[in-house]
Amino acid sequence: AQSVSQHNHHVILSEAASLELGCNYSYGGTVNLFWYVQYPGQHLQLLLKYFSGDPLVKGIKGFEAEFIKSKFSFNLRKPSVQWSDTAEYFCAGAGPGGSQGNLIFGKGTKLSVKP
């Protein structure tokens, strides 16, 4: 079955530290991948997306992610986190045929940034 897995349940960093959150997906072929962020008490917002082309995608707020097909990975990175990045981060993927209700979410990684 298609799946998306996130390695870390909770990550705690100090401000200015570098961030990398892992995401792996289980299906091959055409894949559309997304990272969403959910700030405390809010709804999910799209950070970035990958459909095809350059495997390094840049999103909002200084985030980027790299699609590595050979590793089935789509890790999220940020060189220097801020306290305002405290949130929960969700990786999501859509398999062949696109989402059409088939968007699969990872279980989320909670990021806490200490000032």
Binding site: L46, F51, A92, A94, Q100, G101, L103, F105, G106
Partner: protein
């Protein structure tokens, strides 16, 4: 802002009672979704719709039904609420009306079943 409104924002109900959550959109998008969010489970798809009167089941559809009688409204009904349905429910739309486009989410409905 994709113009998504969920109502109510909060609801407390008793086990066995029916509950209907409403998702309203203002931009005439074809695809609409209902997800539930639970700690340790991320988001799981309950039902989705790809047009008026066209709906399909998601991963966790048992105990839920949906209706879409007009483009702008997508209703989620718990026929007989159970404590396991205590959750935060998010409605989402696909903004480009393509199956592989990103989703825009509503602000959520926090449902507590006592």
């Amino acid at each position: 802002d994709a113009g998504i409104t969920q109502s109510p924002r909060h609801k407390v109900t008793e086990t066995g009672t029916p509950v209907t959550l409403r998702c309203h959109q203002t931009e005439n998008h074809r695809y609409m979704y209902w997800y539930r969010q639970d700690p340790g489970h991320g988001l799981r798809l309950i039902h989705y719709s790809y047009g008026v009167k066209d709906t399909d089941k998601g991963e966790v559809s048992d105990g839920y039904s949906v209706s879409r009688s007009k483009t702008e409204d997508f209703l989620l009904t718990l026929e007989s609420a159970t404590s396991s349905q205590t959750s935060v429910y998010f409605c989402a739309i696909s903004v480009r009306d393509r199956g592989d486009s990103p989703l825009h989410f509503g602000n959520g409905t926090r449902l507590t079943v006592t």
